[in-house]
Amino acid sequence: MRLEYHVSGRDFQAAGGAAAKTKRALRQIGIDAETARRVGIVAYEAEMNIVIHAYRGTVGIDILPERVIIYADDEGPGISDIALAMQVGYSTASEDIREMGFGAGLGLPNMKRYSDELKVTSQVGSGTSIRAVINLPAKEGS
């Protein structure tokens, strides 16, 4: 099963909607609450990164029997130093964004913390792609 959402840069009104729909869909198909929570957090951060930093992008969710894969691909300024961006507290967000409680430098660290695998690739001046994997807990009897 694949879900896909278009995300517009600076659209704070719709922001969080993709993550909310994702979490709801996971619960509806019987994914456990803790896994749905982790996917929700990762999808939220991926979505907010596009809203805050990029012009537009897509958040895709692949739900497989053993794992959930979250993709985020955007057209945007890109990240020049990914290792730096992964550090807690580092952010390039503007002052007005920070005043809203975003841009605390927690987005990518949260994604890393709540996923089992995280890969960030970026090209400055072009965009950023993120792929996060969250393994589903082993089912009883399988």
Binding site: Q13, A15, G40, M100, F102, A104
Partner: protein
Amino acid sequence: MSHGVRVRDIVDELECEVAAGSGQLDNKVAFGYSSDLLSDVMAGAGQGDVWVTVQIHQNIVAVGALTGLSAIIVAGGAGPAHDTVIKADDEGIPLLTTSKPSFEVVGILYRMGIRGRVRE
């Protein structure tokens, strides 16, 4: 989580305004969380928690819906933005407002028996 507190009890104790979600005041409260950084709340708060913040824009409702909060308390006297109220009503999340600062609110919640959610 044996305190048995519902959102309605918080409204009475804080003497605060109910800006939205008045139909959900029987929500049971699990733990409490206080922060103004949205990513921090996403990671730290959990199902049924009450969140104390001074943020007033509509994205607090998105965080509340995703986290499954029992209520959001906007402290410090800043009224929530109009679209925040509408969104909270849509999502069915009680939005409480008080002129008391965050520290006072958290102290009152703690006295009611609500504790912080501690994650490893």
